[in-house]
């Protein structure tokens, strides 16, 4: 296997982590929708928390993406 092919494979493997991030973000927003549906008046407080959780989870996706970029471009 030549280096270029190995790099492409490695970058692909690196972004497998996105599966977990997808599950995590889905969980966060399902919980957000459920809680707003149960208590609409709490929307303002819960929404900020949901966005914070989304940003923290998304960061994991970006760590994986960064590794893929490192493999591809360096």
């Amino acid at each position: 296997m030549d280096v270029a092919a190995a790099k492409a494979l490695g970058a692909g493997i690196a972004v497998i982590a996105l599966a977990g991030v997808g599950i995590g973000i889905g969980n966060i927003f399902s919980a957000l929708v459920t809680s707003v549906a149960r208590n609409p008046s709490a929307r303002d407080q819960v929404f900020g928390l949901g966005i914070l959780g989304f940003a923290l989870t998304e960061a994991v996706a970006l760590f994986a993406l960064l590794i893929a970029f490192l493999i591809l471009f360096t």
């Binding site: 492409a8 914070l52 923290l56 970006l62 993406l65 960064l66 970029f69 591809l72």
Partner: protein, 263 residues
């Protein structure tokens, strides 16, 4: 696919170049520094012009200044508590420095320098780990100093929550210390990776437009696809730019809350 990856110069846009001609070159004043200055001046101008009228019914600029002040102020008080007012100037500066870095980088402008593409873009200084890690290190050093000043040596009980079984101490204490020390790393990499990923996506889709347009009439028509993706991405990146500045500021607030109240 590998050959294609080499023709898309995705990371070239983050290259630092000196700005302001020979004067800037002699002191190594890069375009990142230039945009930091521009961002700082923009915020100062906004606050100065917004605070000057002192109208009871605020105009647009005064409303902007008041809303941004109130937004950060309520964030400090909600997260840290009443003591948060002391940290308001720090959080405000931090939030607007990061926000300006994220937002100004989205402007398709080139006033001050020409890079090797011939078409330069406004520079996202938060896309450099050196910048974001400096900010995060500043935050974490400040948080530790605040905690030590308020609680003295009692601060070290932070690493062993009250009520936890004594037997678990060899397990809990290293985990808490590692999680404390990994804060600046995650704080800086989150911001930096968000900005890099966003701008690399712009670059990749913009390269698709050029490549497809070079492939004849059908390609030119099909190039509308990546163009539409880039337009949608710009909207998404505006959201991300604000969100990441918000997350950076609010995490700083949460760390300060831990420092002031110890769990």
């Amino acid at each position: 696919m590998a050959a294609e990856a080499h023709t898309i110069d995705a990371l070239g846009q983050f290259k630092l170049e000196t700005a302001l001609g020979p004067l800037g070159a002699s002191v190594n004043f890069t375009q990142a520094n230039l945009w930091m200055v521009i961002g700082g001046l923009l915020v100062l101008t906004m606050l100065y012009l917004g605070a000057r009228p002192r109208a009871v019914v605020p105009g647009r600029l005064q409303a902007l200044a008041e809303m941004s002040y109130d937004f950060v102020h309520s964030m400090c008080v909600d997260q840290i508590g009443e003591e948060g007012k002391r940290f308001f100037p720090f959080i405000f500066t931090l939030f607007f420095f990061v926000l300006m870095g994220n937002l100004l980088g989205l402007l398709p402008l080139n006033f001050f320098y020409t890079d090797h593409f011939g078409v330069g873009l406004a520079f996202t200084y938060t896309s450099h780990i050196a910048v974001t890690f400096s900010l995060a290190a500043l935050v974490i050093v400040l948080v530790t100093i605040v905690a030590l000043r308020i609680h003295g040596l009692h601060f070290f009980t932070y690493f062993f929550p009250a009520g936890a079984p004594k037997l678990l101490a060899p397990l809990i204490i290293p985990v808490e210390i590692i999680s404390y020390l990994s804060r600046p790393v995650s704080l800086s990499i989150r911001l930096f990776a968000n900005m890099v990923a966003g701008h690399v996506m712009f670059e990749v889709f913009a390269s698709f437009i050029v490549m497809m347009a070079a492939a004849g009439t059908i390609g030119t028509v099909a190039a509308v696809g990546p163009l539409a993706v880039n337009v949608a991405l710009m909207g998404f990146e505006l959201l991300v730019a604000f969100l990441q500045a918000y997350v950076f500021a609010i995490l700083t607030c949460i760390y300060l809350h831990d420092a002031v109240h110890l769990h």
